[in-house]
């Protein structure tokens, strides 16, 4: 068996180990590679930065713990930014499986920045129906969420003073890991009720959302852990996403090297078999 053949039939566990080491070592010994800010992430940041104090900021946490590594850092960075700007933060989720996690993350960031529940922020929880909830909120927010996550009537929350439906929302960001998510918020929310909107998503979903970004249907897009790292850099508070960027770069280099090597071995094997065929 030639070297190329042995390499192409290598035990896949060796590749897993290589990728594991390429991820683990930069996490243990960070290098601090520079992070360049993309225009799509800056779009969300600049819009929040331009909002006056006490504007209504709606954050829909449309993911569950399965997408936590990518979207949780995005949510934390966005909440920190919104709280620092003294916006009225209304959080909610369209994913039942993400309800507990969403409540925990909103409460954690609010406590970190000394915000008061009901006055500075509220977590409405989950309501069934997906896109129907968005339409319902567009007509009457209190009908979609008669009570918040803790069971308090939403009509009694001071943060919702003057907010009747989605038309009263100044800016909205959906952090989506699938459906319902960013697309549903655009189709059934922004397109119908005309509020400004940005998006955040997992890396897998990002290519599918770029058409919405280019056409101006959403004004910014935070894509995956990379997008979260950019947002953390913009707000000047580095967190888990920035810490993971060295590991991300190292694994990408490892995968590129593996793909190139695999192709080299494949073509060398093919060439060898062609030469053998000509001799035979």
């Amino acid at each position: 068996m030639s070297f190329s053949e042995r390499m192409l039939k290598i035990d896949r566990r060796i590749i897993f180990l290589m990728i594991g080491l390429c991820t683990l070592l930069p996490l243990l010994y960070p290098v601090g590679l520079p992070i360049k800010i993309s225009s799509e992430v800056r779009g969300v940041y600049d819009h929040i930065e331009s909002l006056p104090e006490r504007s209504v900021f709606l954050l829909s946490i449309d993911f569950d713990p399965a997408s936590k590594p990518e979207l949780h850092p995005q949510a934390i960075a966005l909440l920190r930014h919104a709280f620092r700007k003294n916006l009225r933060v209304i959080a909610m989720t369209l994913w039942v499986s993400g309800t507990g996690m969403a409540d925990q993350l909103v409460t954690q960031v609010a406590q970190e920045l000394g915000k008061e529940y009901g006055k500075d922020y509220a977590f409405l929880g989950w309501s069934p129906g997906g896109q129907a909830v968005i339409i319902n909120m567009g007509q009457n927010l209190y009908s979609a969420f008669p009570s918040d996550y803790s069971g308090k009537p939403t009509k009694d929350l001071p943060i919702l003073d003057g907010v009747r439906n989605l038309k009263d929302v100044t800016y909205m960001v959906s952090l989506g890991a699938g459906r319902p998510g960013v697309e549903e918020w655009y189709v059934f929310g922004k397109d119908k009720y005309k509020f400004e909107m940005g998006g955040g998503c997992t890396g897998v979903m990002a290519p599918g959302l770029y058409p919405l970004l280019r056409s101006g249907q959403i004004n910014g897009l935070i894509g995956g852990l990379r997008g979260a790292a950019e947002y953390e850099s913009l707000i000047g508070q580095k967190g888990k996403a920035v810490a993971g960027m060295d590991a991300q770069s190292a694994t990408h280099v490892a995968i590129i090297v593996l793909v190139i090597m695999c192709n080299l071995f494949y073509f060398s094997l093919r060439r060898a078999s062609q030469t053998q065929g000509q001799v035979g």
Binding site: L24, L27, P69, V96, G100, G125, P128, G224, Q248
Partner: protein, 249 residues
Amino acid sequence: MDATVLGAWVATGLTLLIFSFLYKDNPLFKLAEHLYVGVSVGYIIVKTYDTVIVHLVVKPIVENGEIALLIPVAIGMLMLTRYVPKAAWLSRYAFAFIVGMGAGLAIPRTISSFILKQIEDTVRPLMSMTGPDGLAFSMNLLNPGSNLNALIILLGVSSVLFYFFFSIEHSGAGRAVARTGVIFLMVSFGAGFGYTVMARMSLLIGRLTDLIEFSDASYGRPTIWLLILMIAVLFFLSRRDQEHPPDTH
């Protein structure tokens, strides 16, 4: 034991059990997989019951006397008639309501958002007006709104649409256009795959970050102890399989 510490041990244990699949399929992985499915379904059932049945149906009807809610409840209950063969036909009314309402809501909004708006963006002017009588062509590839990108998008959309147009044979000039469409599709698949790799690596980074955090003494070093335990169990299972190979018949 503090809830945070207990949570760290459970999270570390389950992460390591799932990672054990990378070595080979084993009972530890299956245990974690079944736990994941069971806990997820249980969580969803409890949250749905509490939110829908208790807070959106029972409380408003009993406490506020919102009797009108009985109409959607009745339509919803019709779904359950599928379990009674003689009355199963009643469930069609509920399905008809859902399909009719869903289609009515989705079709106009989807056409507006994904077809009309995207066509509008695709047929942007290929030249820009710079003054009262001047035209310019911006060549900046990094600017999504540049004229060069508008041209590339127009070319891509047209050639990919032509590639999926099967009513005429793709030969001669048509073949060149179809091949261009294939190139655009390949670039799109490549970008999608690149982002997928990035996403999967991000998930790995997330788990490894937690494992590093939980190797701290304040949690009782669950990462180290459970890793040693898991390796020992995998070694034991491997030895047992060698001595008594599983019966595959």
